[in-house]
């Protein structure tokens, strides 16, 4: 069994909880449907977004350099990081040089991907995640389980317990409003004490050198505005060529992510604030490897809306932690093997290939076809699970010969009904653990067809 299948099986042991998770996430998918339906031009917008991203990726180096020139002109400092380590080192150096020991952070999946928090904390810097969901999982010492709703796997009662334990709220508190207010008061102190703010980047605009950060809580704005030092970390794929392209992406992002018309805050940053410093760290970490591959390049179009997770029938029932990576779900299963193919070889198989992710994706990434392409890539490199390779070999051998195929079918149809149930439904029969096998007919279709031909 793959690691995903094992963790999914565990998650499903608590059936009511898995059903609750499925329904909670499905509810977001339905909100997305309603928001998207309000725009008659939805499919056209998806087309445009996909084409803009494909174009930007086709000249990524040029646009990145244009962005750098313009950002520097606006007074920002731009840093380049080849991988997670270099990214973490750069961020730490910026903070250490200025004696920063208290950092507030808004949501950034890139820094999760690079494991920045433990890197900084082990070097004596307090890192406080200020997005409510991120703060919840940080207090619980867990990774996020969803890229837009990091604590979607937690029930409000569990958050009440956690806050009671960590923030001293009254025991048994489970009212979302009161819990949020408690978190707000706690975070306000952290904001006021912070010496630096770190944010992610949703869109970096090549022609202006500015960038946009989307949040619903305004936490990025506080973090970037109160302390003098603002560090913004972005993957190389966040580039859009022109400011007017935002009109396409901002309309798609919030509708796809949460079913809102637009995020509560879409903040534009153009250079440092007066008297402050702005550092932009641009990270590759495996992305240019994907860029070089025709079959996987499109996965870099992702704007991290999470819609593919919300629609995925596997994600909803197995929970985000079952994927064992920062970005779970269909897009995560496409991205993870590019970083470590051997470690994440099970993920491209953790999909029924239903294709719902492909049709929900606002930038039209053909996700289920990329999962299929990854399976072929893994098999080519000898990384597909062993039993799959053996099964495919055996199946291919039998099916190549019409005679062998007919004999195998005949044997199954004649033998299975004769065998004792305990043998047919032994532990080796994974199909039969929860399901019955088909009732075996006496004759195949081809035998029936031949008989039919006779008068």
């Amino acid at each position: 069994m793959s690691a995903h299948a094992e963790r999914a099986t565990l998650f499903l042991l608590d059936q009511p909880r898995s059903a609750w998770h499925d329904q909670a996430v499905w509810w977001v998918r339905q909100k997305r449907d309603r928001a998207a339906s309000a725009l008659p031009e939805w499919e056209e917008l998806r087309d445009q977004a996909s084409r803009i991203k494909a174009h930007a990726l086709s000249r990524l180096a040029d646009y990145l350099e244009q962005f750098e020139r313009n950002a520097v002109r606006l007074g920002a400092r731009v840093h380049w990081a080849r991988d997670a380590d270099e990214h973490n080192r750069i961020v730490h150096d910026i903070l250490a040089e200025r004696g920063v020991t208290r950092l507030v952070k808004s949501k950034s999946m890139l820094t999760e991907e690079c494991h920045l928090n433990p890197y900084l904390m082990s070097r004596g810097i307090e890192v406080v995640d200020t997005d409510l969901g991120e703060r919840i999982v940080q207090l619980a010492k867990e990774p996020p389980s969803h890229i837009v709703m990091p604590a979607i796997h937690k029930k409000k009662e569990e958050i009440g317990e956690l806050f009671h334990d960590k923030l001293g709220t009254p025991q048994g508190l489970a009212d979302p409003q009161q819990l949020t207010e408690a978190a707000r008061a706690h975070l306000r102190e952290k904001f006021l004490a912070a010496q630096a703010g770190l944010t992610g980047v949703n869109f970096a605009i090549a022609e202006t050198g500015g960038f946009v950060v989307c949040t619903n809580e305004g936490n990025a704005d506080l973090g970037a505005s109160l302390p003098a030092l603002h560090v913004a970390c972005m993957g190389v794929e966040k580039i859009v060529p022109r400011a007017k392209d935002l009109g396409v992406f901002l309309r798609l992002l919030a509708r796809s992510a949460t079913g809102q018309a637009v995020t509560a805050y879409s903040s534009h940053f153009h250079g440092p604030k007066p008297g402050g410093e702005l550092h932009i760290v641009i990270v590759d970490n495996g992305r240019s490897r994907l860029l070089g591959r025709d079959e996987f390049r499109r996965s870099l179009q992702c704007i991290r809306c999470g819609a593919c997770m919300n629609t995925c029938p596997v994600y909803r029932r197995s929970g985000g932690h079952s994927y064992g990576v920062t970005v779970p779900g269909p897009i995560g299963s496409v991205l993870a093997p590019s970083v470590d193919a051997a470690k994440h070889a099970g993920l491209p198989f953790a999909s029924s290939l239903c294709g719902s992710c492909t049709d929900v994706c606002p930038v039209k990434i053909d996700l289920h076809h990329q999962l299929l392409a990854w399976r072929a890539e893994l098999a080519r490199n000898g990384l597909a699970p062993r039993w799959k390779r053996i099964g495919a070999k055996a199946g291919g051998f039998v099916l190549r010969s019409t005679l062998l195929y007919r004999v195998a079918g005949w044997l199954a149809r004649r033998l299975v009904p004769l065998l004792p149930r305990a043998l047919v439904y032994s532990r080796l029969n994974a199909w039969g653990r929860g399901r019955e096998l088909p009732e075996m007919p006496r004759r195949s279709f081809r035998a029936e067809w031949r008989r039919r031909g006779k008068p």
């Binding site: 999914a8 499919e43 029924s352 049709d359 929900v360 399976r375 495919a392 051998f397 099916l399 190549r400």
Partner: protein, 246 residues
């Protein structure tokens, strides 16, 4: 019009009635049906396992067996999509030899023969939208897409008297079969299937029908294990039965 029947391997071996119903339906609407005996499998299980080298000989066999026919029809959206959309990586340019020739049954009735089956089937029916028919062949507008709703399968069913389609909570969620996924991710697969069945039950369906017997094999396996009363019927069986009753 001559039509070559492409019967998925597991239908040939385990669901002969589906193949017979498909032939009957095509003949009733004026096609003359042949069954090329050398066919086995389109190669999808191997391709989905990533083993393109094991799938390729089967794609080549498919070309040898079916290449000469003008129309190839299959009672499976998934196998049809394999040949139509996924032979490229296996055969390169030769994949084009089958372009415009391979059809899923409902698509063939609707688009090529342009017929509307008549008949009578008095029951509350739940239509399970098999994913590959819906999202790879575009037999209908999936719930994700913000486009005018149209559905070739429902149009075909609309000519059947007494048939009442039930309204599902989730109109086109995957049943969880997914080929080897049903084994690899057994727990999730069964959960997805049971959730689908519950949706059909809650909507009052007496029969679940679908364009792919693989989805129904999985759902029927769960229904029988749980000793439920729901009947499953492939669309070909349902339409053939309805026509025979009329």
């Amino acid at each position: 019009m001559e039509v070559a029947l492409f019967v998925p391997c597991y239908v040939d071996q385990f669901y002969p009635r589906v193949g017979l119903a498909t032939a009957e339906l095509l003949e009733r609407h004026g096609a003359s049906v042949v069954f090329p005996e050398d066919q086995t499998c389109c190669g999808q299980p191997m391709a989905n396992a990533g083993s393109l080298d094991d799938a390729r000989p089967l794609a080549e066999k498919f070309l040898r067996v079916f290449g000469a026919y003008q129309y190839v029809v299959s009672p499976s959206g998934s196998c049809t999509s394999m040949v139509r959309n996924h032979y490229g990586p296996l055969l390169g340019e030769r994949a084009a030899q089958m372009h415009g020739k391979v059809f899923e049954l409902c698509e063939f009735l609707h688009d090529v023969l342009q017929v509307k089956p008549r008949g009578r089937f008095a029951a509350r029916v739940g239509l399970h939208q098999s994913c590959h028919g819906l999202r790879e062949l575009r037999l209908g507008t999936g719930s994700e897409r913000i486009l005018p709703a149209r559905d070739k399968v429902q149009e075909l069913l609309s000519g059947i008297e007494g048939l009442q389609l039930v309204q599902l909570q989730r109109s086109d969620e995957c049943c969880g079969f997914g080929g080897a996924f049903a084994i690899d991710e057994e727990a999730i697969s069964c959960r997805m299937g049971r959730d689908r069945i519950a949706d059909h039950e809650a909507a009052g369906a007496e029969v679940i029908t679908a364009g792919d017997m693989s989805c129904l094999m999985h759902l029927q396996g769960l229904i029988r294990r749980d000793r439920k009363q729901l009947r499953v019927l492939h669309l070909a069986e349902l339409l053939a039965e309805a026509g025979a009753r009329a």
